[in-house]
């Protein structure tokens, strides 16, 4: 009985990883490829580890598998964010069908600085929280 569940978990994990790999080959630019690889790849690894935990059904193995799943869950978004940020800053070109790039007017590639759009307000209220913005 548990063999069937283990098989299903392993096959689901491998399917997600194949989907991630297909996406990484077929998609047009860095953010879309990163989207495919990090989400589907991480879910595939997590499902595979869940299958391992169910197959061994031993407390030490289950503890390690759960630690692994939590680790993947924590680090996959961080790695994706960091790589995407580095890729944008090094000037990759986006896909031609991209309709919105909110960073373009906020980012200065020469000084390598990101602006939030709230700089004027914080510069004007030099006495912090004194008049609570009532005179502006």
């Amino acid at each position: 009985m548990s063999e069937i569940f283990v098989s299903i978990l392993l096959l689901a994990g491998a399917s997600f990883m194949v989907l991630a790999a297909i996406g990484i080959v077929r998609l047009p630019d860095l953010p879309t490829r990163m989207h495919a690889s990090t989400k589907a790849g991480a879910l595939g690894a997590m499902l595979t580890m869940a299958g391992v935990a169910l197959h061994f059904a031993d407390s030490a193995v289950v503890a390690r598998a759960v630690a692994f799943i939590v680790f993947i869950l924590l680090t996959a978004p961080i790695a994706a964010h960091v790589i995407g940020r580095a890729g944008y800053f090094t000037g990759i070109e986006l896909w031609g069908g991209t309709t919105k790039d909110e960073l373009r007017e906020r980012y200065d590639p020469d000084s390598h600085k990101l602006y939030s759009g709230l700089e004027e307000r914080t510069a004007r209220s030099t006495a912090p929280r004194a008049q609570d913005g009532s005179d502006q």
């Binding site: 063999e3 490829r33 690889s37 299958g51």
Partner: protein
């Protein structure tokens, strides 16, 4: 039942590894190659997990944990290298 599933999973993971390798060799920018490397790392983690089930040796899980940790640190290091004025528009 489980043997057939394990063989099918090996085949699918090999296919995923092949696709990720295509992107690793062709990727126009260095960031694309880093993304492909990270997918390769998680596919290898899947291999290790399936191999642990196949052989019945649960110690392979430690290998998987180390591979995942190394891949994460490598991604962070590559990103720092790119942002601190590494290669521009390779």
């Amino acid at each position: 039942m489980l043997d057939v599933a394990i063989n099918v999973v090996y085949f699918m993971l090999s296919l995923a590894l092949l696709f990720a390798f295509i992107r690793l060799t062709r990727g126009p920018s260095l960031a694309d190659r880093v993304v492909a490397l990270e997918l390769i790392a998680s596919v290898v983690v899947g291999y290790v997990g399936v191999h642990a089930i196949d052989t019945g040796v649960s110690s392979f899980l430690d290998v998987a944990i180390v591979i995942a940790l190394t891949a994460f640190l490598a991604a962070i290091g590559f990103a720092r290298f790119l942002e601190r004025g590494g290669l521009k528009n390779e």
